[in-house]
């Protein structure tokens, strides 16, 4: 803005000098855009296209057959089952943690936030290993579990635990900054007007954090379905029993059934695309509500 007004007022030679000193020439602009887009095309677009091509190369019928085959269906069912447990737990944890951190002051808050972030920094493989050491047949609680006929490792409970661990930060990380930024005035107003705690949360807080929560849930969902390293360690890859969708993809790929591997991959990729689309909708919504709040 300022550049243009200054440029218009001053004489042409000065204006050109000002433009040279405050912005890049057109050729440089387009070169930088070109380099960025080539890099992104190579790393973002081509992998997408190769999955689509691999999945649909032999026609829709082959694609449909690959994802309705019994082992694939079992993997999809297991993945959805795990997500149905993990995501609600993470919603409760995320909302509780964000409420405690955003609405109250206490000592050690930054340590708590760092702890919540930790699963994000730990290698998924190490996460899997930790639970194998705790619950595996050769692990600490292994003999006790075997005596009580309980199976955690190489069974569904182990898969649920490692995925819950790995996806723990996602909803909390979305909600904490959002709720910190919104403050607590609206909740206080509601409470002083006589509403109870739950009612306040339901009618005041929840509508405010709605979009952040939705994105958190979708991201948590995508990451839970896609978790690979930790599950690879604890699942034992029993076909039709403990193979989640990503493990099923690995098995298919290693058996040279590339079309089937890409067909199952295309489902997860579709979900990933929905996730990033919802993220931009959420950002657009928050930007709009902020702009509405700014204009009197």
């Amino acid at each position: 803005m300022t550049t243009q007004t200054l440029g218009n007022v001053a004489n042409p030679a000065l204006a050109a000098r000002w433009r040279r000193a405050t912005s890049e020439p057109d050729w440089l602009r387009w070169t930088l855009i070109g380099i960025s887009l080539s890099f992104l095309a190579l790393f973002l677009i081509l992998p997408l296209l190769v999955v689509l091509y691999g999945a649909f190369e032999q026609g829709l019928a082959v694609w449909a057959a690959a994802i309705t085959e019994p082992d694939a269906l079992a993997a999809i069912r297991l993945s959805l089952f795990v997500v149905a447990i993990v995501v609600p737990i993470n919603v409760v944890f995320g909302v509780a943690a964000a409420w405690a951190i955003a609405k109250f002051e206490f000592r050690g808050k930054s340590i708590l936030i760092t702890l919540i972030d930790m699963p994000f920094a730990i290698s998924p493989v190490v996460v899997g290993l930790i639970f194998v050491i705790l619950f595996g047949t050769q692990g600490w609680l292994g003999p006790w579990l075997a005596a009580h006929d309980l199976r955690i490792i190489f069974a569904v409970p182990g898969i649920v635990i490692v995925i819950a661990f790995g996806t723990m930060p996602f909803i909390a990380r979305e909600l904490i900054p959002l709720m910190q930024q919104q403050g607590k005035e609206e909740e206080e107003a509601s409470l002083t007007l006589g509403a109870g705690g739950w009612k306040t949360f339901w009618y005041v807080t929840l509508p405010n954090i709605k979009w952040g929560l939705i994105y958190g849930i979708i991201l948590c969902n995508a990451r839970a379905l896609g978790e690979f390293g930790a599950v690879a360690v604890v699942s034992g890859r029993i076909r039709g029993e403990t193979n989640t969708m990503p493990l099923h993809i690995e098995v298919l790929y290693n058996e040279y059934m590339f079309t089937a591997a890409f067909a199952v991959s295309s489902l997860l990729m579709g979900l990933a695309l929905v996730t990033v689309a919802i993220k931009s909708v959420v950002e657009w919504q928050t930007e709009r509500s902020r702009r509405c709040a700014d204009t009197p």
Partner: protein
């Protein structure tokens, strides 16, 4: 004047503590958060610490200093370093282009930057190896130049660059958006060329965000497993990453060996988190 201010702040503090009592649920939410964190995080991680501390120092050292393991550290940390460096350069460039320039399809490109974060690593892995295999869309052209990517160390770098891509872009982007153009104009009106302004005004302002993004991309890359195992070929001493060795040892029920290497990884993750927090503390102290 100061007394009045002090009285004011005291009053505010008192109001603040009163407000804490107005909002309910501290005990409930804090209790659940700590219970869940303890159950899911502190007990398991503490378990690993205890487990490795029960090993003798010789056993531990033998497990973590075996030549095959050392070769895997070199590859994991080296490839993560290169991948994060590539992301530092291109991430900064992409962030700059997305914030400062207009071009068709910008919104879609902007949204797609998060894809490596949302796409399952196994899907990314098979997509990348198919692209870069000697018969693949990209691999066949590189083959002409004698460059092999799939099943080489270069393949590991490609996979780690892919998964680290969103971090630098997403940490630099908001800082660049908040950067006032007035500072650049001031620099220009004092006679600086555009290059000098970029080097002396814009780059220092972006430095903490660049470093944070770099550290995040590096941390993510060091622990990555899914996207690498397909493209690396997993040859001992050459293309074996450290997380793969942990999986291999766990599958052979060598829990001690796996736990010892896992401890090294855990320490590295913890150090990186300290570095990231340190950068953020330094940034807030600089008042940027």
């Amino acid at each position: 004047m100061t007394a009045a201010l002090q009285a004011h702040s005291v009053k505010r503090k008192r109001l603040g503590s009163k407000n804490n009592r107005v909002i309910p649920g501290f005990g409930l939410t804090m209790g659940f958060t700590l219970f869940y964190l303890g159950f899911m995080f502190l007990i398991p991680v503490g378990g690993l610490l205890l487990y490795t501390s029960l090993m003798s120092w010789e056993e531990f050292w033998k497990a973590v200093s075996h030549p095959q393991v050392v070769a895997s550290y070199k590859l994991s940390f080296g490839a993560s370093f290169i991948g994060a460096s590539i992301n530092l350069v291109f991430g900064a460039l992409v962030a700059w282009v997305l914030v400062r320039y207009e071009f068709p399809g910008k919104r879609v490109i902007d949204a797609l930057v998060d894809l490596p974060f949302a796409l399952p690593t196994a899907v990314a892995g098979i997509a990348l190896v198919t692209l870069y295999a000697s018969t693949g869309w990209v691999g066949q052209y590189l083959e002409v130049w004698g460059i092999k990517v799939a099943y080489t160390q270069l393949g590991v770098v490609v996979a780690l660059t892919y998964i680290g891509l969103p971090f630098v872009v997403r940490t630099v982007q908001p800082v660049l958006e908040d950067l006032e153009t007035e500072r650049e104009e001031a620099s220009a009106s004092l006679g600086a060329s555009r290059l000098t302004t970029v080097r002396r005004v814009i780059l220092p302002a972006l430095l903490p965000a660049l470093l944070t993004g770099y550290a995040l991309a590096f941390a993510r890359a060091v622990g990555e497993y899914g996207s690498v195992v397909f493209i690396s070929g997993n040859m001992p001493y050459r293309t074996e990453i450290t997380p793969l060795l942990i999986v291999a040892k766990a599958e052979q029920y060598d829990y001690q060996g796996a736990a010892a290497i896992g401890m090294v990884m855990l320490l590295a993750a913890f150090l990186l988190l300290l570095v990231i927090n340190g950068i953020q503390w330094w940034t807030s102290r600089r008042g940027l």
